[in-house]
Symmetry: C2
Subunit: 238 residues, 2 copies
DNA sequence: TAGATTGTTAATCGATTAACAATC
DNA sequence: TAGATTGTTAATCGATTAACAATC
């Protein structure tokens, strides 16, 4: 980190609040790409370069970053590690967050083996399932060494581990009940893989990953393409 | 389907094009909830009810549906199966779409066993992997009976199956190359699970599912909550 | 200083919302 | 007819974009 910037940008930013949702959703991508650049030994990057690597326009990138503060240098660009640090701080990645995964079927197993957790400061601190075949299974991957606990222990696992984030990888018909127990146990951030609209109190943040929705959006556009190809009379190349 | 509506809404709609992206992204949710209502034997639903079940406001729901046409009845509500049919038609779910999955590790296995494909008219028509341990494995689940093929056969599998959608469940460092081969083989719709910004021609539609991004967005809000709780002086209950 | 690049401004675009006229 | 509920309108809000003044 450039120590020459020690005194920082003197609070010209949005007073720490009010970063637009659309910007927050892109910060993780900027962060990942910056880490890749740092690994490659790149020290400085311009908004044009970084934007291209992130798949956004330079204007959008600069606008997004301006919400965090003023971490670039005109005429030069951005110091890769300095910017990376400030994004990670803004995202809350400087603290480690404990994650409990409820449902250790195919998807749950895939999540546990996912290496993106630990590398971003997330730690899996609990695994729960209701199926006797899975309960008691010991799962050991890089950074994880846990035994699957029965659903009855959900509240105890959350309390003991101090988990902040709950991942619901359970079947659809169990999802709402799991969600309610997580919330009652004190979890306020939930990542839901079940194809269900969860009902939660206002203070709880739910994000949903829905394979079927993504596929259906693709199908919509695919159909448009097929229809277009069929309806338009073939235009002769000149 | 109410045959009394046989003659349809006489093209008052947006001429088939121009359904806003935000609306398209919600249609699959409406469709799923409507199917659930139909299964429960519900014949008619008001925008207030349906909106509540979908977790959106009634105004937004009606606005969204108005882009498809005029499929409700004032004073009554929407015929569940009639509306469901028109949404599925708009989404392109009346035709079956072939899906090829590239990468049959933990995530790929989870995807194959996901029951949401077939129930929405998607059919897995090819599985590919580069790992010798996985190649040749026969995978049989409800509706799927396939052998994992080596990566070298990607082009042949796409051509033979006529697949329209490619799912990239391969490691990050293979994703761009897989993507290019899919596109060269004629695939125009890609669902990408690899944490990589794919570079594709304009005519290709890529949707990305990124676990790390979702977790980091949750961490951002979680941090805000924690900070708020720490900074605000404790307010006495009156 | 001259060239490069940021951070900000103002214009545009698209999405959301509330209210209500149309109409079953 | 009276009550209910849609489909549409107009206002608001938030996100994107292009251009450029600030400044390294």
């Amino acid at each position: 980190m450039s120590l020459s910037r020690r005194f920082g940008p003197s609070r010209t930013r949005d007073e720490g609040r009010g970063i637009p949702d659309a910007t927050v959703a892109r910060l993780p991508v900027y962060h990942r790409v910056l880490r890749g650049l740092a690994d490659d030994g790149v020290l400085t990057v311009s908004s044009d370069h970084l934007a291209a690597a992130c798949g956004v326009s330079p204007a959008k990138l600069r606008k997004d970053l301006s919400h965090l503060g003023s971490y670039g240098t005109r005429g030069v660009g951005y110091d890769v590690s300095y910017l990376s640090y400030h994004i990670s701080r803004e995202l809350g990645l400087s603290k480690p967050w404990g994650v409990v995964i409820v449902g250790v079927g195919n998807l749950g197993h895939a999540l546990v083996s996912y290496r993106g957790f630990a590398s971003r400061g997330f730690e899996i601190v609990g695994l729960l399932d209701s199926h006797p075949d899975v309960i008691g299974e010991r799962i050991t991957t890089s950074g994880v060494d846990l035994v699957v606990r029965p659903m009855a222990e959900l509240e105890a696992v959350v309390a003991d581990s101090g988990a902040h984030i709950g991942v619901i990888a359970a079947p659809a018909d169990a999802a709402q009940s799991v969600c309610e127990r997580l919330v009652a146990a004190g979890v306020r951030s939930i990542l839901n893989f079940a194809p269900v609209v969860l009902v939660v109190p206002d203070e709880v943040e739910v994000r949903k990953v829905d394979l079927a929705v993504e596929l259906q959006i693709l199908a919509f556009h695919e159909q448009r393409r097929v229809d277009d190809a069929a309806q338009l009379p073939k235009v002769m190349p000149a």
